[in-house]
Amino acid sequence: MALTFAGLDIGSRSIALVRLREGQILEEKRLPTTFDPLRQIRTLLEKLEADRLIATGYGRGLVERMGLSLPVETLTEIKAHGLAARHLFPEARMVLDIGGQDTKAIGLTATGKVSRFEMNDRCAAGTGKFLEYTANIFQIPVEDFGAYALMGDTPPLINNMCTVFAETEATSLMAQGVRPENIALGLHLSIVRRTVGMLRRVGLESPLVFAGGVAHNPCIRVLLEKELKLEEGKTLCIPLNPDMSGALGAALWGQENEGKLAA
């Protein structure tokens, strides 16, 4: 009987689990991280049927120290996202992952290996956290923020990438009477410009896979395609479940490594 690999991605916003056997996804589930990630991990792993667990994400070390009854290994989210992108889109040459508190730009070689990468620095500017925080100013859930912003047409230039200062800037634009939809669009554009800068520094290549929770946001997708000036007919490759990519990559790594060990 083939082995089952469980990939667990402990992010700042959510914790995702993917079970994989012989390249087939058996199960995918996800819980919010909350202030007690350990409890959320336990809930997610309850009655887990797997032979190996591979943890990734900023909480990967936490899982290693939990003393679980099955073998646990860890790998970084960079490698995990590279593997998942390659699996879902075999031609992929670049991955963009925008998660809850960090953004990663990952270059892949023609054979799918990570060649270069860059991550945002200490602060969470330009990540999901930024969107969540600024959506709050408009009193709408972050899930609806992208669609709302798409109703704007003339975005003001928002310079501040600091989340707190961006809020101040947005508030003063509101006071000047700028349409809120336009301000929302401007906030989205500020993230996208920053992200494109990061992609270019790593060396922009396509096909580009866009993963992480922020890939659900329709406004970010549209603006990214526009700012990247993708050739006609080319679009971003977006996984069906972009927030499960890290966990999928972790499970794939387990499977790949097992294959190597067996060989």
């Binding site: 970084t76 989210e77 960079i78 490698k79 990570v114 060649s115 990468f117 200490r122």
Partner: protein, 425 residues
């Protein structure tokens, strides 16, 4: 608790004892976590453990004894200050504390906040009165390397007896003439300070002492080209750090003894980690004691560090001084030649550094280069961009890290470094 053996000495040096005790407590714990936890360490490292445990004790006591005999203590911050001249004047040459967050609030009263951690550190150590080396100095020698340092010396000069050497920023003939005059001015300053006339004989003897130290360290670094590496990067960095404040003759003998052990290890194909462990060359800004953050993260991520392309590393020891000249003029020329070969990022252009990193990476069989820049360090931040391009052409992967002495970015750094190790594996 203040160590009773040294309490009186520290009090005499006007240290802030409770703050100093706290510093030693943190240092001891940090050292335990990062160093004593290592497996497969060389026996010869016990000497380094001892030196470090006595860094503010026995070594400072030796300085006081030297002072009681009439010798002077000269503190420095940079590998451009010719140690040979200091020793020829019968003075003690020490590198000053600059590797930990200390007295930051105090330091920020006289320095802009956007100043690199190294500069803030040495100013902070002084203002918080917790560095017995700084307090022992009869002279502190600065140099006009980067803007941050040269402006900091203006403020620092109000706190300590200061001599600033003007360092040129290019390597033209005119720049060489300037540096030569500065070397002579330093020599004269030392002669006034110590009352000792520096003769060619004394200078040649000092050159031999310093060259012997450099050769021992060169030997150590060369042995690290073996796979598996006979020594951890952390231990090697510690040795390069201790080179700045230990007695040079005693230190040289200990390092040579350590190298003998390393040779046996290499012969037996043994090492600190299995053969095939990913090998990393550190490159960039200096890591002063006790700045072990990045090496610790790197070696905890399944890699081994095989070289330090840094002022606390090869930049300090790569070139020897020619001892053959007979007269003072010739010896001064030899010093100027030797020191102007240093490939510091303060120079423009500084293309030789690019070539030096590539050849080091090849010689040490490094799988990748980890570039370490101190936040707000303009010269090395610029060169990180250049170096990456050069290394990419050579198909040597590079990761650029910018950080400081705080621990708040440990997790982010771990992720980056681990991902880099996965990439080069």
């Amino acid at each position: 608790m203040t160590d009773a053996r040294y309490a009186e000495m520290w009090e005499k040096l006007n240290l802030d004892l409770p703050a100093h005790d706290a510093l030693l407590g943190v240092l001891g714990q940090f050292y335990g976590d990062i160093y004593m936890s290592q497996e497969g360490r060389l026996k010869g490292m016990e000497y380094l453990d001892f030196v470090l445990s006595e860094v503010h004790g026995l070594r400072v006591q030796e300085l006081q004894e030297a002072k009681a005999r009439g010798a002077k203590v000269v503190g420095t911050f940079c590998v451009f200050v010719p140690e040979e001249l200091t020793l020829a004047a019968g003075a003690v040459h020490v590198g000053l504390c600059a590797g930990a967050e200390a007295g930051t609030e105090e330091a920020e009263k006289i320095l802009p906040r956007n100043t690199c951690a190294l500069i803030k550190s040495f100013v902070g150590f002084k203002m918080a009165r917790i560095c017995p080396f700084t307090e022992s100095c009869d002279l502190v020698v600065g140099e006009t390397t980067c803007d941050g340092k040269k402006k900091a010396y203006e403020a620092f000069g109000e706190l300590v007896p200061m001599h600033v050497m003007e360092l040129p920023q290019t390597k033209t003939d005119a720049a060489r003439a300037l540096f030569r005059s500065e070397v002579i001015r330093y020599k004269e300053k030392l002669e006034t300070l110590t009352g000792v006339a520096i003769t060619p004989e004394k200078l040649r003897a000092a050159m031999a002492t310093v060259n012997a130290k450099r050769k021992a360290l060169q030997r150590l670094d060369a042995l690290r080209s073996a796979d598996p590496s006979p020594i951890s990067g952390r231990d090697a960095l510690l040795i390069h750090q201790v080179a700045f404040y230990d007695d040079p003759v005693r230190f040289t003998a200990s390092i040579n003894a350590l190298c003998d052990q390393m040779e046996v290890r290499v012969g037996a194909k043994e090492g600190v980690s299995p053969k095939g462990t990913p090998r990393i060359l550190l490159s960039g800004c200096p890591m002063a004691v006790p700045n072990w953050k990045l090496p610790y993260i790197t070696e905890s991520s399944g890699a081994v560090i095989v070289g330090e392309e840094s002022c606390i590393g090869t930049r300090n020891i790569r070139d020897l001084t020619d001892e053959s000249a007979q007269d003072m003029d010739g010896l001064i020329d030899a010093l100027v030649d030797r020191y102007l070969r240093i490939d510091c990022a303060c120079f423009t252009p500084n293309t030789e550094r690019m070539a030096n990193v590539v050849s080091m990476a090849r010689e040490l069989k490094a799988d990748g280069v980890l570039h370490y820049g101190l936040m707000f360090c303009q010269p090395y931040a610029h060169e990180a961009i250049k170096l990456e391009k050069v290394l990419r052409k050579e198909e040597i992967p590079m990761l650029a890290i910018e950080t400081d002495y705080s621990m708040e970015d440990m997790e982010q750094l771990k992720t980056r470094v681990e991902a880099f190790v996965e990439m080069i594996r």
